[in-house]
């Protein structure tokens, strides 16, 4: 009798506290499905965005793409929007020269630094290097531009140009044809520093994917560390190294403000690294204010942005695929 009373008493208490009833489980399942759907849609956002940006720019640049053949636009040498002349040639070449100088200056030290950090350095060195690289990456482009203005342009003007004029003057790409330091070289130097943290950190990750067993196998037969790196490690990760360089190049391609402040902004076809130039991003940034005042000007500038976007997308997608695949091997 007592027992059944107790049982009766237990139930009312239970009902108010925990309810492992069917309705609760169902509503939790519903909640889960709803959340899953919302999250799914939100996650589609990145993929969606890439498409939207490309389409929007394409749409807006359509007028000029229709009006002029692509050949004229890409290879035309004359830029006079008021006369209806939209030759992007000088700007594309300017972008190319600046990016090339930046990458050429940056890559060799970056490879060396990443190898050192990955293969030789003590943990202490690495723990100092990481904040240094993070800080370099965090410095805003406009501050890099100020540095370029205050330190690099004078350096090119007062040190490098005279040296080059004296020793390398006969080689055309090193000839000094203008009196200022606002040049491709100055922009290249600034870019080289800007893209260095990116290249180094990607290469470092790549080197870390090589399993220690391989290193030990080479060292165990008496190879030096450098022999191991040269014979085993670098060949193993070569695609990743190239991908890192391509990634750095694509970052240099798109850099606007820092380059703009030191490159001279003269729309000419460059013949020497000491010449001024006018890369595509600078063109867009400098002239966006007058975009709406001249017919087709806005379409032209936006098509420049489109060209940049497409080239950068291609570079990025390919290099990211390679890098992602290498990194996955490590986790596997």
């Amino acid at each position: 009798m007592n027992l059944s009373n107790q049982i009766v008493k237990l139930n009312p208490n239970q009902q108010s506290e925990d309810r492992p009833s069917r309705s609760s489980a169902a509503s939790r399942a519903r909640q889960d499905r709803l959340a899953r759907n919302i999250f799914f849609v939100i996650t589609l956002l990145p993929v969606f965005l890439i498409l939207v940006v490309t389409i929007a720019l394409l749409y807006r640049s359509w007028p000029i793409l229709k009006a002029y053949p692509l050949n004229d636009l890409l290879f035309g040498k004359i830029w006079k929007p008021t006369d209806g002349q939209f030759g992007f040639g000088p700007f594309i070449l300017g972008t190319f020269w600046v990016t090339a100088v930046g990458v050429i200056l940056s890559v060799p030290p970056c490879i060396l630094v990443s190898i050192y950090l990955a293969e030789y350095a003590h943990a202490k060195t690495r723990s100092v290097a990481k904040p240094v690289l993070d800080l370099l990456a965090a410095i805003p482009p406009v501050v890099y531009g100020v540095w370029g203005l205050l330190a690099i342009v004078p350096f090119v003007d007062e040190v490098l140009a005279p040296l080059s004029a004296r020793w390398l003057g006969s080689i055309s790409i090193f000839s000094v044809n203008q009196p200022t330091g606002f040049s491709i070289l100055a922009a290249g130097i600034v870019l080289a520093v800007m893209i260095a943290p990116l290249i180094i950190s990607v290469m470092y990750e790549i080197f870390s994917t090589v399993p220690n067993d391989l290193r030990h196998a080479s060292l165990a037969v008496g190879a030096t560390q450098w022999q191991t790196i040269r014979n085993i490690i670098i060949p193993q990760v070569m695609p990743g190294i190239v991908a890192a360089i391509v990634l750095g190049a694509s970052r240099a391609l798109g850099e606007t403000i820092a380059v703009l402040m030191v490159v001279g902004n003269i729309p000419q076809i460059p013949t020497s690294i000491f010449d001024s130039a006018y890369p595509l991003p600078a063109l867009i940034a400098n002239n966006y204010g007058e975009m709406m005042s001249i017919p087709l000007y806005d379409a032209a500038l936006l098509s420049a942005a489109l060209v940049l976007l497409i080239v950068i997308l291609i570079f990025n997608i390919i290099s990211m695929l390679v890098i992602q695949r290498m990194l996955r091997r490590k986790w596997a």
């Binding site: 993929v47 970056c110 100020v146 997308l313 996955r328």
Partner: protein, 289 residues
């Protein structure tokens, strides 16, 4: 067998040489940072004044008269804060979804790849894109437009930062929760979010740092003004543009103030960057490794 002594071999010379140029390169890279900070401080500090950070530009500021760049400082803070917050609203769910539902599946790889690709798009392209949208919607340059574009730029940065942190989380916690009968959503809510905390703070600070320093995107979208923004639909000044415009002035005093503005911007970014290290180190204490 007593011949293990060091003797000249070309490969040892090579090794020593390579180590030498590697160390030199490291010094060069670290030195570049020092050089940059040094110049900014040395050239910026003399023109730094209380007036600069506490006043908006008075008439004729760009010709050397009085005032400061408070408009730009506050404008940038609004822009970066707004952009980061908006980006976070989307990146936290995306990061959670990636971890809880997608993991390392094919679809997860596609999403990560597209995030990386988005991250690689330069801000000038985002700015141009923003401009086309503004044209289409008939919007004028405004704080809101700037915030939206910055959110777009910061989204991939923040999501990937969170994703990297979450990936290192031990799965056991989630498995334990799932084994006890939680739905995946509940696991996301209770277990993953708590573990994500250091990742979220790092991501926020990373995104904020980017938002406050970016010029090419706000050029198109946020416009410029000499006033402190009072409405989200009006244009706003930003620090990077303030630096840029002052530097372009023919008056040396204005240019000097530009250097000081660059110094202010650099200091803010340094604080944010170092602060995020400290914060994530502290928060890591409360998570399970």
């Amino acid at each position: 067998m007593g011949l293990m002594k060091k003797h000249f071999q070309r490969r040892h010379l090579m090794e020593a040489f390579m180590k030498f140029i590697m160390r030199t390169s490291l010094v060069i890279v670290a030195g570049a940072l020092g050089l940059i900070l040094w110049i900014i401080i040395v050239r910026g500090f003399p023109s730094l004044s209380w007036e600069m950070v506490s006043q908006i530009p008075q008439g004729g500021y760009y010709m050397g008269k009085g005032g400061g760049i408070l408009n730009a400082i506050i404008g940038s803070l609004y822009l970066a804060a707004g952009g980061t917050f908006l980006a976070m609203v989307f990146s936290v769910p995306i990061a959670m979804y990636l971890k809880t539902y997608l993991g390392d599946s094919k679809w997860g790889q596609y999403v990560r790849l597209s995030l990386d690709v988005l991250w690689g798009i330069p801000s000038i392209v985002y700015g141009a894109f923003g401009f086309t949208i503004m044209l289409a919607l008939g919007m004028r340059a405004s704080l809101l437009a700037g915030i939206v574009i910055l959110a777009l730029i910061e989204l991939p940065i923040m999501t990937r930062a969170m994703d990297e942190v979450i990936r290192r989380m031990p799965v056991d916690l989630e498995h334990a929760a799932l084994a006890l009968g939680s739905t995946k959503f509940e696991v996301a809510l209770r277990v993953v979010s708590r573990q994500m905390l250091p990742g979220i703070t790092t991501a926020i600070l990373l995104g904020f740092g980017r938002g406050i320093g970016d010029a090419a995107s706000v050029l198109f979208t946020a416009g410029y003004t000499d006033r402190i923004p009072t409405s989200i639909m009006r244009p706003t000044a930003s620090l990077p543009l303030a630096v840029f415009f002052q530097l372009g002035s023919p008056y040396p005093e204005v240019r000097q103030r530009g250097y000081a503005a660059a110094l202010i911007l650099t200091i803010i970014v340094l604080i944010v960057s170092l602060g995020s290290r400290w914060l994530s180190a502290r928060l890591n204490k409360y998570t399970v490794k």
